[in-house]
Symmetry: C3
Subunit: 319 residues, 3 copies
C-alpha cells in the first residue's frame, strides 16, 4: 500500500520537497552547547536562538519514566524562563531512532497487575505528560516536530500539540487507545479534531489505523511531507532559522492570538478524566496484559513495528 | 467536466482505492437477520455488531414520509437501546439505488398549495428529520455513510451528520435550498462548515453546485473517495469490521470526547427556526410549485438527474 | 520553485480550470454604471445584482489613505443600504494591477518618525480598515475576492474576510507583520486559523512565507486555483452569476447561519489591541524605518516584488 501511495502522490510531495532549500547556515550568535537531562533520553543543542532536542530512548522511544522525566524537565525549564533571553525562540524535536519518533505511552503505567517498577513511577509519568501538554501550546516558544518514523498514542498527542509538524518518508501516525477500550487522554483528541476535522479524527481514532506522511499532509495532520530524511532536516532547519530571524515579541504575540482558538483547558481535562476513569476497567486491564505479552514487553519486535495493523491482537477474546 | 476531473485526479483517488482491502469476512458471532421497518424503504441486516441499513425508496430515494418514518424508527430504536448489548457498534447506511443516495427533502412538504397527501404528514416528516439529526451525532453508535449516487439538501444533511463518509465514483453532493430562498434547516450548515470551512461551505451552499467524490475527499466533505462501487463496499466493510473489533466502551468514549467540538444544539435549532420562518414566504412557495412542475413531481427524469445544473429553473421569474 | 510546483500539481489545478465555464452573459436587468469613489482607486461597475469593484492604486495597490477611503466608502454605502433593493447580491473585488492584488498596509502609518503626510491620516486609515473588516463578514452581500498577484498583510486580511476566494496563477499570499515584531491586527489571524487550521496558520504567519494559488487551494486558503487570468475571470463571473440568480432572502439567511461559526468580535478586537500596543515598540519603529528605506518608500521595485523572500532585511540588526 505504501509504495503505491507514495508513487501516486509523489507530485504533491515533491512540490514541497523540491522548493529551493535555504542553505543550512548557523546564525552569527551561535553558541553550540550540548546537554542531556537526567536519564539521557533527550539531547539538546543550542544554536543561537534555536534548540535542537533529539529524543533517544532505546529500543523504541517509549514515553516511559525516563523520557517523560527528561522531556518534562526540559520543557519545565522553558516555562520557568518564560520571557527571558535565556529561552530559545524555536525548539525542534526530532528522534535519533530510525524506526520510531515516539512509540507510545509505557503500557505498564496502565496495567495494575504489572506496574511500572521503581525507579519509575506511574503517577508521575502521567503528571509529566499533562504538564508538558499544557506547556507546548501555551509557552511563547515555537515548537516544531520533525517527524520520521512511527508515533502512536501519547507520541502522537505530543506531536499534534507542537506548533508545526514536518514529516519524512518513514512517518506513521496513529492512535492505539481504542485497542484498550480507552479514548486518548492527553489532549490528542481535541487538537486532532481541530487539525483534520471531526470525521477524519473519528475515523482514525476509532480504527487505530495509521497514516503516512503524504496522506497526513493532504488532510492537515502534518504541515508538509518531504521525500527524504535529509530534505526533512534541511527544510525543518530552514523554517526554524527563518522564524528565529524575527523579533521575539512578534512570535509570542502571534502564538498568543492563534491560541484564542486552541482547545480549552476544561476540554483537555475532560479527556483526561474519562481516560483515567476507564483505565481501571476489566477490559482495559486485560488488554494491557495482552499488549505486554504480544509486544514482548514493548520490545522492538514485529508487533511494535507493525503496531497499527496488529492492534486487534490485544483485544480480550470476550469483547 | 467530470471525466476530466476523474482522470486528472485518479492518482489521488487510487492511492486510497488500491490499498490492500481487508477480506470481507463476517465476525464469529454473526447472526444474520433482515428486517424492514413500516414502509419497507430501509432494510437492515445484522452481522455481529454491525448493521447494514440499505435505503430503497423508489424512484429517487426521496426523504418523504416513508423514508423519514423508516429511518427515524430505526434510529429511535437505537436511541432506546442505548448502552445495551442489543445495539450494534457500527451502522452502515447505503443505497440500493444506483443513481441516488438520498435525493432530497420531499418538496410537497414545503408547498402549501400542493401539500403531502395522507397517509403522509408534513409536520411529522420534519419532526422525524430533526430527531434523526440529533441522534446520529450523539448516540454511542458509529454511523458510516457509504455514498454512491446523488444526494442533495436533506440527504446531504443526513450524510454530513454521520460519523464517517466513504464515497464512490457516482457520488454527487450538493445543497438545493438556495433555489427556494432558504438556508438548509436540519443541521447541514453547521456540520458542513466544520468539515470544509467557512469559505467552501458558503461557495457550495450559496451556489447549489455539486462536488464529486474526488473533490469532496480533497476538501474534507467525505473522508475518502474510491474508484468503484465494489472498492467502496469492501473498504467500508473493512472499516466497520475494524472499528467493531474494539471494546464498546472505548468507541463510546471517543465519540463523546470528539463531540465536545460538535455544533451546539442551539445553533442547529437556529438553522431550523430560520428555515421554518422563511418557508412560508411567497418566493419559497412559488419555487416549490415550480420545482414540482419541472421535476414532474420529483420523478426520476432529467431534471432530478441533473439537479444542481438545472436548479435555477425553479427560481420565480421576478426574483 | 514555482514552475516545479505548477507542473507537478497541474492536474489538480486543471481539474477545476477545465470545467465548462458558464458563458459570460449579463442578466436581463443589467444597468451598467461605472463609478469611482473619492480618490479614484476603486472603480465599480454594476451589472444587474452584481458589482465588479476593481482596485487600482498605483504603483503597488498599497492599503494607504486613498484605497482605505475608497474601499471603506464603498462598503459603508452597502452597509447603509442593507436589505434594500439598491444593494447588489454579489460584489467581486479584483485588481487592475498585474503584479499586486493589494500589496499591504501603508508602512508610514506605523512609523512615527516618517508618518503619513496630509491629506493622509494614519488614525483614519486604521479605523477604515477595521470598519471594512466588520462589514465584509457581516453584511448580507456576498463578497468574492478574485485574486491574481501578490497580497500580504492587510491585503491578505481583506482577502480572507471575503466570503469566497478564487485565485489565478500570479497569486502570492503572505503575512509580513512578523518582520515588524507584530501580529496581524485586522482580523486576519482568526479568519486564517478557521480556513487553514492552527498549525499552518502558525507556520505561515510566524515565517512570513508566501503560498501560491495551487498550494493555497490545497490547504484551504483560497477556494480554487485557476491556470490563467482569463479562466479566473470566467469562473469568478460564473460563480457570481449563479449565486445572483437565486432569491436574496436565501443568500442572506445562508450567510447569517454560516456566520454562527465566524470569529467573535471580541477576538478580532483582541488582535487589534495587541497590534496597537506593540506598534510603538522600539523594534517595530526601527523595522518600519528600515522597510521604508529598503523598499524605496514602497515603490514597485525588487524589494516589494520579492517581499516574502526579502522580509528578514527589515529586522533591526540587534534582534
Amino acid at each position: 500500500m505504501h509504495s503505491i501511495i507514495q508513487f501516486a502522490l509523489l507530485p504533491f510531495l515533491f512540490a514541497y520537497a523540491q522548493s529551493t532549500p535555504t542553505p543550512h547556515s548557523l546564525p552569527a550568535k551561535v553558541h553550540a552547547r550540548t546537554s542531556s537531562p537526567g536519564y539521557g533520553t533527550l539531547t539538546t543543542t543550542t544554536n543561537g536562538s534555536i534548540i535542537h532536542a533529539v529524543i533517544n530512548n532505546p529500543p523504541i522511544n517509549l514515553w516511559d519514566y525516563k523520557l517523560a522525566a527528561d522531556i518534562s524537565s526540559f520543557v519545565d525549564t522553558l516555562a520557568t524562563n518564560v520571557n527571558t533571553t535565556t529561552n530559545p525562540k524555536v525548539v525542534i524535536f526530532s528522534s535519533a531512532n530510525h524506526d520510531f519518533f515516539i512509540a507510545h505511552y509505557e503500557i505498564h503505567t496502565l496495567d495494575a497487575a504489572s506496574p511500572v517498577l521503581p525507579p519509575g513511577n506511574g503517577t508521575l509519568i502521567g503528571e509529566q505528560l499533562l504538564r508538558t501538554r499544557t506547556n507546548l501550546a501555551s509557552l511563547p516558544v515555537i515548537f516544531i516536530a520533525e517527524i520520521n518514523g512511527r508515533t502512536s498514542g501519547a507520541g502522537n498527542e505530543f506531536a499534534v500539540q507542537c506548533d508545526v509538524r514536518y514529516a519524512g518518508p518513514a512517518t506513521s501516525l496513529s492512535h492505539l487507545e481504542v485497542g484498550f477500550g480507552l479514548p486518548p487522554g492527553a489532549g490528542g483528541i481535541q487538537f486532532l479534531v481541530k487539525l483534520i476535522g471531526r470525521a477524519r479524527a473519528l475515523e482514525y481514532i476509532l480504527s487505530g489505523r495509521a497514516v503516512d506522511a503524504v496522506t497526513a499532509a493532504a488532510i492537515g495532520w502534518v504541515n508538509k511531507a518531504f521525500g527524504s530524511a535529509e530534505e526533512l532536516r534541511q527544510q525543518t532547519d530552514a523554517l526554524a532559522e527563518r522564524i528565529a530571524a524575527f523579533p521575539e515579541q512578534g512570535l509570542a504575540a502571534i502564538k498568543a492570538r492563534v491560541n484564542v482558538q486552541k482547545p480549552s483547558d476544561a476540554d483537555l481535562q475532560g479527556d483526561n478524566d474519562l481516560f483515567t476513569q476507564l483505565a481501571s476497567t476489566k477490559v482495559t486491564q486485560e488488554a494491557g496484559a495482552l499488549f505486554l505479552k504480544v509486544s514482548e514487553n514493548e520490545s522492538a519486535g514485529s508487533f511494535e513495528l507493525n503496531l497499527p495493523d496488529d492492534l486487534t491482537e490485544i483485544v480480550p477474546p470476550d469483547v
